[in-house]
């Protein structure tokens, strides 16, 4: 619990320091906005169209494969911690789990979801 108290305090501090820098920048710097200056940068041209452009499905697929991997790997961490106390079939079960993970990778690979077209 004490460890978490320290981590909590540290998290608050690590949010505080960059925020302090930003506030300092806002205070010490000049502040003279005008419409041309605050205009969106687009290589010197006027902005055309909506800013919130749409994206390829490709990005979603990468994030999706990542999500599945992330969740499965989180399952593996307690297994790794208990690893030395496990009998051999416990190890084998972990390996089966990893093989499932590999199967997911192979499927995404064969399907072409990992191609950047």
């Amino acid at each position: 619990m004490n460890a978490w108290l320290y981590v909590g305090i540290f998290i608050a501090l690590s949010l505080f320091f960059p925020a302090l820098l930003a506030v300092l920048g806002l205070i010490l710097g000049p502040r003279r906005p005008n419409p041309i200056k605050t205009d969106t940068y687009e290589c010197g041209l006027e902005t055309v169209g909506e800013t919130w452009v749409q994206f390829k499905v490709q990005y979603y697929l990468f994030a999706l494969v990542f999500l599945v991997f992330d969740v499965e790997v989180v399952f593996l961490y307690p297994w790794a911690v208990a690893y030395h106390a496990l009998p051999f079939y416990g190890v084998v079960e972990g390996v089966i789990f990893v093989v499932m993970l590999a199967a997911a990778l192979v499927y995404a690979w064969r399907k072409g979801a990992l191609e950047w077209s």
Partner: protein
């Protein structure tokens, strides 16, 4: 307890007694001490960035046959201070149409996501908090940095920033997978997620046990940081300057600080996980020596990172993704399975016998992977030859028309 063997412990004890003497309660004293300790660590690493900026500019300069900063102060040492003062007096231009609170949350989250890692890095023996899930914590706070990038790209109200942010996030999540898998190997070998525990378990450094895991961890972390050769997010010719294009002044400097700090933090984490952390001759009796060892090891890894940055040209975006998904991740998976099976049988042996058997396994895997890549390259070369001679059987498919790489294309 002498001041030399327990410097931090002695100071903390003295401060605790002082505060208790003032009539503060036990709980409040603990909170104040933690606050003080945390502030010391945070300020130390943030200040260290000033040196890193000078060092990296100098080193990159020398790699590129330039002098690097050399005007302000001896060897240009005061250059970062001059830059800092200059950037302090610059205007923070918030673009029109920006989502203001999120615009500031972006850089703050990004810097905080790196700084938070220092809460669990064991700086020296018996100092620092022993969080029992520290290894996974290092992955968790990385999520905040990712979120910060997405926020700053989205809130800037700029197409290029948004395209770059999405790209960067896709890159970061892709490289998080091999990072997580490689991190699993030290956890498995040590049987604990506590970083203190991992350091203490390294009677033999884990780089001897698992050099491949170290390489995977290092490469994936560098790529996650988005440094050259993986700096697609800053590809000047495609997306002008990346997700932080609309940032200026001090707020931009926060991104800069976060980048350098991240590079060094990768070094520190790699040192803790694979290079024995504070371990070294005499570290147990003189904890401050352990701190020096850790710093030297972290700096060595950081040096290699800068070296790579100054030497290797930028990769293409499809190569970038393939490198993570089709090379690092499968190798990490194979390595994980083999490590798990092997360690079950050699755990009972002595530390060195265990380490050597793991090393042998790693070497075999590395040779096999290199052999496979060679073979793969040969097959591809022969395929290319077929394309070069049309009319012959079998006719390979014609080369694809080149797709122009520009943001509107990527965005469609």
């Amino acid at each position: 307890m002498g001041i030399l063997s327990q410097p931090i412990g002695v100071i903390a004890e003295w401060l605790r007694n002082l505060l208790l003497g003032w009539g503060l309660s036990q709980g409040l004293t603990t909170v104040l001490l933690y606050l003080l300790g945390g502030a010391v660590v945070a300020i130390l690493v943030q200040t260290w960035v000033i040196f890193l900026i000078w060092y990296e500019r100098k080193l990159i300069g020398r790699i590129q046959d330039r002098l690097g900063p050399n005007r302000v102060g001896p060897y240009g040492l005061l250059q970062p201070f001059a830059d800092f003062i200059k950037i302090m007096t610059k205007e923070v231009i918030v673009p029109s149409g920006a989502d203001k609170p999120l615009y500031f949350w972006g850089p703050i989250l990004m810097d905080a996501g790196v700084l938070m890692l220092w809460a669990v890095i064991p700086l020296m023996p018996m100092v620092g908090m022993d969080l029992n899930v520290a290894a996974l914590y290092t992955i968790a706070v990385g999520g905040f940095a990712t979120l910060g990038i997405l926020l700053s790209g989205w809130s800037s109200n700029n197409k290029f920033a948004l395209v770059s942010a999405i790209r960067t996030v896709a890159q970061m999540v892709s490289y998080e997978v091999p990072t997580v898998l490689a991190l699993l190997i030290p956890v498995l070998l040590a049987g604990t997620m506590s970083l203190h525990g991992i350091v203490e378990a390294q009677h033999v450094w884990y780089i001897v046990f698992a050099p491949l895991a170290f390489v995977i961890y290092f490469l994936a972390s560098v790529a996650e940081n988005g440094r050259s050769p993986f700096d697609l997010m800053e590809a000047e010719s495609e997306i002008v300057a990346g997700f932080h294009i609309e940032y200026s002044g001090m707020v931009f400097a926060i991104f800069y600080v976060a980048d350098f700090l991240h590079a060094f933090t990768i070094g520190a984490l790699a040192a803790v996980l694979f290079l024995g952390g504070w371990r070294g001759p005499g570290a147990e009796s003189f904890p401050l020596l352990g701190f020096v060892y850790l710093w030297i090891k972290a700096f060595a890894v950081y040096f290699v990172g800068v070296w790579v940055r100054g030497t290797v040209p930028r990769v293409r975006v499809d190569q970038l993704m393939n490198f993570s998904w089709k090379f690092l991740t499968p190798v990490a998976l194979i390595l994980l399975v083999l490590t798990a099976v092997l360690d079950h049988f050699v755990f009972g042996l002595g530390a060195w016998a265990r380490a050597l058997s793991h090393l042998l396994m790693n070497v075999v895997v590395a040779v096999a992977v290199l052999r496979y890549l060679e073979h793969h390259e040969k097959v591809r070369a022969s395929r290319r030859q077929m394309v070069a001679q049309p009319g012959q059987y079998p006719v390979a498919r014609p080369p694809r028309p080149a797709v122009a790489e520009n943001p509107t294309e990527a965005a469609s």
